[in-house]
């Protein structure tokens, strides 16, 4: 639901960076979106297409990489992906924040961000 506001921040930021470098066009943007963020790639693309119209971003390519979550258990030292509840009736899998090894609460290290990794510019 808030994909539009995030994407409008993205478009503003990229235009600012492109201006700094006196770029003619933006060709490609690569985003790393954490699996635990609440952003839906399809809605992000839709917002991006609308927001980039009439700017130097128009017709550029948006690459969205979905990044795995990464958790750590302070109790047993487990370091890796969280467990998911895969109940077919929910249609999507739900992450569990309990250690897959010992069952203690885990700390989330990665998977919540929405990071602009790379912007390809034409000068």
């Amino acid at each position: 639901m808030h994909e539009f506001s995030i994407m409008s921040q993205l478009v503003e930021k990229v235009i600012e960076e492109a201006r700094k470098r006196d770029a003619k066009r933006v060709l490609e943007i690569e985003l790393d979106v954490g699996q635990l963020s609440f952003l839906n790639p399809e809605q992000m693309r839709f917002a991006y297409n609308v927001l980039s119209k009439g700017t130097i971003l128009e017709n550029s390519r948006l690459i969205i990489n979905i990044m795995d979550a990464h958790v750590r258990c302070e109790v047993c030292g487990f370091d890796g992906k969280p467990d998911y509840v895969d109940d077919a009736s929910y249609h999507v899998s739900t992450p569990l924040f309990l250690c897959p090894v010992c069952g203690s609460p885990v700390e989330v290290l990665e998977g919540k961000g929405c990071i602009i990794k790379r912007v390809r510019l034409e000068l």
Binding site: H2, V85, L123
Partner: protein
């Protein structure tokens, strides 16, 4: 005289990549941190109250104001897409209220809260409740800079809310299961509901309330460190 350093720059028409590593969600987190510092400086305890439409967020805040208004000077920010219905209600309960209408957004963000903070006298407040927009998805992603985050659900939403919306429980410190007076009628097993919340968010404190009868309200105030 130092040697002249050769600088390589791309030519016109050339294509090149820049690496930014900029987190778009970080901007909100930074403002939230500034809000937190501002609130700490004025010794204000701030609580973000989240939950779906009709779960009982406004009624819970009204009840807490009723319980605490002789002890603290209380203010409330009411977040909604439009209308001032909730703010009017809360004003009658005796707290200073300020309505934040998001217009189109589905959540409050730290910047809207910063604006609201600039409109009130911070030296005149001990406790601030921020009622978020009724929504179980988006508010979770936007911390506001409060000390605690509370998520309110009610038994009338059925038994699956925690599993359908795990993220909001992950981000909250306290979960309130409201309308327990209706659990029998709704045929909802409250123990099972609590177990589901604990499954998706092991560290959360769960409190059962009926904002209608007043049951559990003192417990909520205690957990928030207000009693």
């Amino acid at each position: 005289m130092p040697d002249e350093i050769e600088v390589i720059v791309p030519d016109k028409g050339e294509v090149f990549d820049i690496e930014l590593e900029e987190d778009l969600l970080e901007a909100n987190r930074k403002i939230a941190e500034e809000n937190k510092q501002l609130l700490e400086k004025h010794r204000i305890r701030a609580i973000d109250v989240m939950g779906s439409v009709g779960s009982g967020k406004t009624t819970l805040i009204e009840r807490l104001i009723g319980l605490l208004k002789d002890k603290y000077r209380i203010a409330v920010f009411g977040g909604d897409v439009t209308t001032t219905i909730d703010a009017e209600r809360l004003k009658r309960s005796g707290a200073k209220t300020l309505q934040i209408n998001t217009g189109k957004e589905c959540h409050l963000d730290a910047n809207l809260v910063r604006k609201a903070l600039s409109k009130i006298d911070l030296n005149d407040i001990d406790v601030l409740f921020i009622e978020n927009v009724g929504n179980l998805i988006c508010p979770a992603e936007f911390p506001l800079g409060t000390d605690s985050r509370v998520v309110v659900i009610s038994v009338t939403e059925g038994p699956y809310t925690p599993l359908k919306h795990p993220y909001i429980f992950m981000e909250a410190d306290v979960a309130v299961i409201n309308k327990i007076d209706l659990a029998g009628t709704m045929d909802v097993d409250v123990d099972e509901l609590e177990a589901k919340i604990k499954k998706v968010s092991p560290d959360i404190v769960v409190i059962r309330t009926s904002c209608k009868t007043g049951e559990g309200i003192e417990k909520v105030a205690k957990v928030l460190g207000l009693l």
